[in-house]
């Protein structure tokens, strides 16, 4: 009987049920979208910050390829590592210049802000910093450099501009560098992804795996990232909270009004002998059912909206936030129940007869 009443009530006034359902779906959809976005934004923004390059530097005496392999293994999918070896070579006229040996493919991935006219591909080709180009090469395309009694002929393949120390260096591939310079790696620069805690954990892993090396965070990047992200996320959280509270308050106002509208139904039930408890249960069941259904629809819509925002802004997918599901459903159902029960407390004082009369 109870179930019959609830179902009939919903189906008879189809228009009103649909409007209520829509209001609930919108409120819970907005709540879901906001929570999903907030949960996903941290990871997305952290990956944006990786464009700044290496946030961990490994230095030491005698770093080699095996150390690079260890680093690769530890950072795997979440980071990039690039090896660097430095020497001071001299031109035939005695002018000193810093020559760096590196892996160009790795550097291209790690230091995306480098402005490079052309990356070297063939042996003997060099990437020359803008200032080194004018000072060392001048108008020549090739130059001979000396180090430890050994000569090396370089061809300038491309010019590098960064505004930093790189502009004064000449970069060549490790394949050319090692036989000529015969020095170990000077440093391995690593860009580690994830939150500050993840970076810290990876730092300790690297330090343990490479006991003879020095593993340091690049404080400039790590601290600034922390500061900027905290502020951005706080602003987003404030917005999310404002929107959530307002949506649910609006939903509450709407649902209360719609229950109050049905006070004639309430009066008829009381006049027919229904106890306050029975009437309460009926309205509560209706509100609960609508709340549940509406929040399910809303969750689906909200997840879709969040995915759209993710694609539009970050050009990446934002996955559904499963932990938001129980929160949204429970919150919506509670708001619906509360919105149904609050009018009951007013209405219980009024005589059914006067309500039916229209007062």
């Amino acid at each position: 009987m109870f179930l019959h009443l609830v179902l009939r009530s919903a189906l008879v006034k189809r228009g009103r049920t649909v409007t209520t359902l829509l209001a609930i779906a919108v409120a819970s959809g907005v709540a879901t979208a906001m929570l999903t976005l907030y949960a996903g934004v941290d990871a997305k923004l952290h990956s944006e910050f990786r464009a700044y390059g290496a946030n961990v530097v490994i230095t030491g005496k005698g770093l080699g390829q095996q150390d690079l392999a260890t680093v690769d293994r530890l950072v795997a999918n979440s980071g990039t590592a690039a090896p660097f070896a430095y020497i001071v070579a001299k031109t035939d006229s005695g002018a000193p210049v810093v020559v760096a040996g590196t892996d160009f493919a790795r550097v291209q991935k790690l230091d995306r802000w480098w402005s490079v006219t052309q990356w070297p591909v063939r042996p003997g080709e060099a990437l020359v910093g803008a200032r080194a180009m004018t000072a060392i090469f001048g108008d020549n395309k090739t130059v001979t450099l000396n180090y430890a009694g050994r000569k090396f002929n370089l061809t300038a393949a491309g010019i590098l501009k960064t505004g930093g120390d790189e502009d004064s260096r000449i970069y060549i591939a490790l394949g050319d560098f090692n036989p000529w310079a015969q020095v170990p790696l000077s440093s391995i620069e690593v860009s580690v992804g994830g939150s500050a805690a993840d970076v810290d954990a990876t730092l300790h892993q690297l330090a343990t795996a490479l006991p003879q090396a020095q593993v340091d965070p690049v404080r400039q990047l790590v601290e600034a990232e922390g500061r900027v992200l905290t502020k951005a996320e706080a602003a987003l959280l404030a917005s999310v909270l404002i929107i959530l509270v307002t949506s649910f308050m609006c939903l509450f106002a709407t649902l209360t009004a719609s229950v109050l509208e049905r006070r004639k139904d309430f009066a008829v039930m009381k006049a027919l002998g229904g106890s306050q408890g029975a009437v309460n249960r009926l309205f509560a069941a209706e509100a609960g059912a609508l709340g549940l259904l509406g929040s399910l629809i809303g969750y689906a819509l909200g997840t879709g909206a969040a995915a759209l925002v993710g694609r539009a802004n970050f050009h990446a997918t934002i996955t559904p936030e499963w932990s938001a599901f129980p929160v949204v459903v429970v919150a919506t159902v509670m708001v619906a129940l509360f919105a149904a029960m609050l009018p009951m407390t007013f209405l219980r004082q009024v005589e059914p007869a006067s309500m039916l009369r229209g007062e």
């Binding site: 919108v26 979208a33 200032r131 120390d165 600034a224 404002i242 106002a253 009004a257 909206a305």
Partner: protein
């Protein structure tokens, strides 16, 4: 008659009207708060991004190549060209002076210091710490404390132009030690942890480094931290290819490159460029964050439109008996629509004003808590919010009014709808 009907409606149905006003107020408060925050957040985040330090560098035009390896500068101090310290104050005279957050001059030298029981070659870096300077009537402080905010000092920061110095944490000196630099005895007042090459150096006031190399007023490099506009295709164009109005537009936009150009105009014999690692990436990060806040604002706008519409729709459908009575008494559909539209407009005006006040307050609170500065409320926001309130409320009620007026009075009055 018409105003009396509207007035009576407000007087008699106070509770219903209150609920509707509450819905409109909340909706408009959200819209106001979100619009206020998202229009200002770009500026606020730009300032936060200055935590990354200097994004521009100025160096002498005639300078020779740097030879820096392992954090040690091998170039002899007498080599190369220098900038003039006296020209530095002209930085605050450029077109974009208000965007210059701070600058720090740098001068490197080598000295032999007695440490670890013997005399060792040590890098010396001369700079400003928090030097007070004046330009015209304005006074300001600038130095590494602004351009290198990640530098951590255990102890105290040295005073500018004094005999105090910082020792990098890898140098092996402690707070309270004294060091002889040339003819002067310097006191270490703090130990510096920078995470960079300064950890291997002694950081001294600029004037002491200048004395050491015997060149008063010399500056090797100036690091500048400026608020810039993210670079777009227009910003990337070569200014030499632009003329007239286009050039003016480029010059008057705070791109990193245009500020760099203005710095070279202010400091004679210099060259300036953006430090790409900082300047390029802050543009991307900024656009991501402002983009996100804009989309969230749009979501908030949509949510409040829907919330207000549903509240208005419920409030109106509730009164279909009234509409039935009015029509039965002979009111035309137009008259009924007019009455309800007028009520909706009044609700919108009231709710809009309250919502604007609430939203503005909320936005200020959020900005002050998160950023420590207040939002510059745009006065143009008020008419926008009011217009939105009226539009949303009227549109939201339109559907409901239309549906209600279409119902047959007799059917509605019977209670069958």
């Amino acid at each position: 008659m018409f105003p009396r009907l509207v007035f009576e409606s407000f007087r008699r149905q106070r509770r219903r009207k209150t609920l509707a006003v509450v819905a409109v107020t909340l909706g408009m408060a959200v819209v106001t708060a979100m619009l206020a925050v998202s229009t200002d957040i770009g500026d606020k985040m730009n300032r936060e991004l200055r935590s990354y330090g200097a994004n521009l560098v100025v160096y002498p035009q005639e300078d020779t190549l740097d030879v820096k390896i392992g954090g040690v500068d091998l170039k002899p101090a007498s080599d190369g060209a220098y900038l003039n310290e006296a020209d530095l104050k002209k930085i605050k005279g450029i077109f974009w002076a208000h965007n210059i957050v701070g600058f720090a001059p740098m001068l490197r030298a080598q000295a032999q210091i007695f440490r670890n029981g013997r005399r060792e070659d040590t890098q010396i870096v001369g700079t400003y710490f928090a030097k007070s300077m004046t330009y015209g009537k304005e006074s300001y402080t600038t130095g590494v404390r602004t351009t290198h905010p990640w530098w951590k000092v255990s102890g105290a920061w040295p005073h500018d132009d004094s005999d105090e110095a910082l020792a990098g944490d890898k140098v092996g000196l402690h707070t309270g030690d004294t060091v002889k630099l040339g003819d002067r005895t310097m006191k270490i007042v703090g130990v510096l942890t920078s995470g960079g090459e300064e950890d291997n150096a002694l950081v001294v006031p600029l004037i002491r480094a200048q004395e050491l190399i015997g060149r008063p007023g010399a500056v090797r490099r100036v690091l500048v931290s400026a608020l810039t506009k993210p670079e777009d295709d227009f910003g990337r164009r070569d200014p030499k290819t632009m003329s007239g109005a286009t050039y003016d537009r480029w010059y008057c936009s705070p791109y990193a490159n245009s500020i760099a150009l203005q710095l070279t105009e202010a400091i004679p014999n210099s060259r300036a460029e953006q430090i790409r690692q900082v300047a390029q990436n802050e543009g991307t990060v900024l656009s991501r964050i402002t983009g996100l806040m804009l989309l969230v604002s749009l979501a908030a706008l949509l949510a409040s439109i829907l919330a207000v519409s549903s509240a208005m729709a419920t409030a109106i459908l509730e009164r279909r008996r009234e509409i039935g009575v009015m029509k039965a008494l002979g009111a035309s559909k137009g008259a009924v629509v007019a009455i309800f539209a007028a009520e909706a407009a009044l609700l919108a005006l009231l709710g809009g004003m309250l919502g604007y006040a609430l939203g503005a307050l909320l936005a200020q609170q959020v900005a002050r808590t998160i950023f420590g500065s207040s939002i510059a409320t745009q006065p143009v926001l008020f008419p926008i919010v009011m217009a939105l309130a009226v539009a949303v409320t009227c549109l939201g009620s339109a559907g409901a009014i239309r549906r209600a007026t279409r119902m047959e009075p007799a059917i509605v009055l019977r209670g069958d709808v």
